[in-house]
Amino acid sequence: MDFVSIFNAAVTEMFGPTLLVYALAAIGLNVHFGYTGMLNFGQAAFVAVGAYGLALMVVTFAPMWFPGLAAGAVFWLGILLGLIGAVVLALLLGVPTLRLRADYLAIATISAAEIIRRVFRSSTLREWTGGSDGRSGFADVFREYGMVFGFDRGARFSWGPFFYTGTQLWVMVVGWILVGLTMLVVWLAMRSPWGRVLKAIREDEDAVRSLGKNVFSYKLQALILGGVIGALAGFISGLTTGTVIPDTYSPQFTFFVYAMVILGGAARVFGPLVGAMIFWFMFQFLTQALRQLSVQGILPPGVLDPTQVGPIVFVLLGAGIIALLIFRPQGIFGDRREISLDVR
């Protein structure tokens, strides 16, 4: 067992691009679930729409619509399309469903997210979306920007336990800036009267209505804000690997993001980030450690052969989510008092 290298790999992942995807998705979901109390089970769809907006603009639409346009401009158009996509999705999803009670909203949003994933992966639309293989080849401009700052594609950076390629590091620089900015926005918004209305809606919609606030409009605004932050996660997700694959954005993705938000403590500014980091570290560490145990034969194949590592890690995560919600629903850094007053 090489604990040092396992630990190093897990720590590297803990700050890496994938973590950033989860962290951004979780920060967005925290606006929905933590602050406003909306049970959005379709966060994966917002991430998908962000990633696909960028990918489809660059790979599919721009060659059709704006054949002569410079690659740099096309890239930014793609970002714009992803953001607009998230807003439109929030409106499409929210206008009809936000009147529903929490559990109905959960079913409606998870269904909508599945519809979107299935439409993206359908072979009927393969010509545009690339079907289940998704799309690639839209990250070049972004990587060239990175080269300007010295993040060469082939370069390797290592420092202490950390080890990243140039591409990854460039994604991380942008991603961490986005994480910082979105957390700043959430922090500012949630200590303002606007955030106060959201938190009040979480507690009791009717009371807020009786005080003359348009609850529906606020919920929609919250859905849009969280969704746009989700789309940012989609950009990072697409730009890290240079591909978008529809099945990345399965319900499972949303469930993990929920686990992260609750782990870190819902309705706290740093909660989602901390939750995502712990979750992702645990996931990586367990996977790598168990894989080594299995490959080196320390655990015999009858107990754990390498193909069973994945399921076992998920079993542990499932058990972890259950235990967390039962014994520490306020998350690691949450305030017990706030939860024990829970009126629902």
């Binding site: 994938t18 269904s111 439409v119 193909t307 499932g318």
Partner: protein, 458 residues
């Protein structure tokens, strides 16, 4: 606002449908295998694929200029598909192995992928090689469970040549699927009605039945009992499992006063846990039952149907009718409906709500287990089968009326029919989308469902 929402949704829906109509599925009817070979986005032509059944060569196919290849097969069953690497362009190999074992279902073409590369990557153990979690390394995508594609909530459609044949077959298969959904959905709806929980782990209870039957039935696992014995055993185990879940877990949470939203997320964790326990134990393969697999369809008027399905329908109808009878005429059944209607009032009138909930868990899980066996008779048992069906179950219980017993049955039939009949007009791959679309439309216009009751607030 509301009208605009309905309009927008209808618009999006019709665009999806319109796109669907414009295309035709690659394979309308008949068994076969197909695929596309490519490397770095370029098609690979001239490669030879050989297909064997029990080591006998069944046929060969060669990839065309687009890299596509296909081969019709004489019938459903287990085939070995081999890519002849010698026919690949110089320097290319099948990076994930060149042999696939494929279980071809009745009436459908299976897609088989051979990723090509310059070197052989980690050899997969299963036929699902390209679905395997990729090795960690640069730019690793977020973790994915291994989810085999297709079929999901699948009922194969066998049909004769005429339009009438097709319509009748689709309607029949809709009823067949509907009955299975109704069986599976009943527990979901009643658990919601009695304890308010939207149980995201209900799909895993369906898988539980399918796999419990594998355990009793398939010789590699335990007893190798005939399916006729293994099925009741699986259902009995399901009842026990449901009872134990409530006795030791959900009942305990209720007593602790865990909130309903927290329980809902707990059920997601439970689903993840169960699903992967199944996968740990049974692997990610689709396991086919031994009995009643290759039956010759019989002809009833314009309908072609395998006898197995008719028997399954018969059992499902009898079971559903007896459950309905029990709910309407027995003391216990009336108590269940009273609790589902209004738990606090039922409790006030002296009904032991906890006991009723336990009963609902036990029978609901038993019915879900039966549905799981029936489903697996069609498509094989796998750890993921129930999960893939979950949203269909949600659609069914919401359409019928969440929390009501008869709503789940009615909704199951409606969703089953809707799905199978919709494929007369839209491609197969959109039928699930259509069902989810139906779910959302129902939530828009009548959130309480068909049999649900609109309740006064405040």
């Amino acid at each position: 606002m509301r009208r605009a929402a309905i309009f927008l949704t209808a618009l999006v829906g019709s665009v999806i449908v319109a796109l669907g109509i414009a295309s035709t599925p690659a394979w309308a009817d008949g068994e076969g295998v197909q695929g596309r070979l490519s490397h770095d986005g370029e098609p690979v032509a001239g490669a030879v694929i050989n297909v064997f059944a029990e080591d006998q060569l069944v046929g060969s196919a060669e990839s065309d200029a687009d890299g596509e290849w296909s081969l019709p097969l004489p019938g459903a069953g287990l085939y070995r598909v081999e890519l002849d690497e010698a026919t690949l362009p110089e320097g290319l190999v099948a990076s994930r192995g060149n042999v696939r074992e494929q279980n071809v279902p009745i009436g459908r073409a299976s897609t088989i992928l051979f990723p090509l590369g310059t070197e052989v990557l980690e050899q997969p153990d299963e036929a699902l090689g390209d679905e395997e979690e990729p090795p960690p390394g640069d730019g690793e995508p977020p973790p994915e469970e291994i989810i085999p594609e297709d079929p999901e909530g699948e009922v194969e459609i066998i049909t004769g040549p005429t339009r009438l044949n097709r319509v009748v077959s689709h309607v029949y298969s809709g009823i067949h699927l509907g009955l299975i959904i109704a069986l599976a959905g009943l527990g979901l709806s009643l658990v919601f009605g009695t304890m308010g929980l939207v149980n995201f782990a209900h799909g895993e209870l369906v898988s539980f039945g399918a796999l419990a039957a594998v355990f009793f039935h398939v010789p590699a696992y335990a007893f190798g009992l005939p399916l006729l014995v293994a099925t009741p055993a699986a259902v009995a185990l399901g009842v026990l499992f449901g009872y134990a879940q409530d006795r030791f877990f959900w009942g305990w949470l209720r007593k602790r006063g865990t909130g309903i939203i927290a329980m809902m997320i707990i059920s997601i964790g439970a689903a993840l846990l169960l699903r992967n326990v199944y996968q740990y134990y049974f692997g990610s393969r689709r396991i086919v039952y031994r009995d009643f697999t290759s039956q010759v369809p019989i002809e009833i008027g314009p309908l072609l149907v395998v006898p197995r399905n008719l028997i399954v329908d018969g059992i499902a109808i009898v079971v559903l009718l007896s459950v309905a009878f029990a709910l309407v005429f027995t003391r216990l059944g009336k108590a269940v409906r009273a609790v589902a209607d209004n738990p606090s009032l039922a409790s006030a009138s002296g009904i032991n709500v906890d006991r009723i909930i336990r009963l609902v868990w036990a029978t609901g899980t038993g019915l879900a287990a039966l549905a799981g066996v029936f489903l697996a008779m069609q498509e094989g048992a796998s750890f993921i089968a129930g999960f893939q069906m979950l949203l269909l179950l949600f659609a069914a219980v919401i359409v019928g009326g969440l929390g009501t017993a008869f709503g789940a049955i009615l909704g199951g039939l409606i969703v089953g029919l809707f799905i199978q009949v919709s494929t007369l007009w839209i491609p197969d791959e959109f039928k699930y989308v259509a069902a989810l679309g139906l779910l959302i439309v129902v939530l828009l216009v009548r959130p309480q469902g068909i049999l649900g009751r609109r309740v006064r607030v405040g």
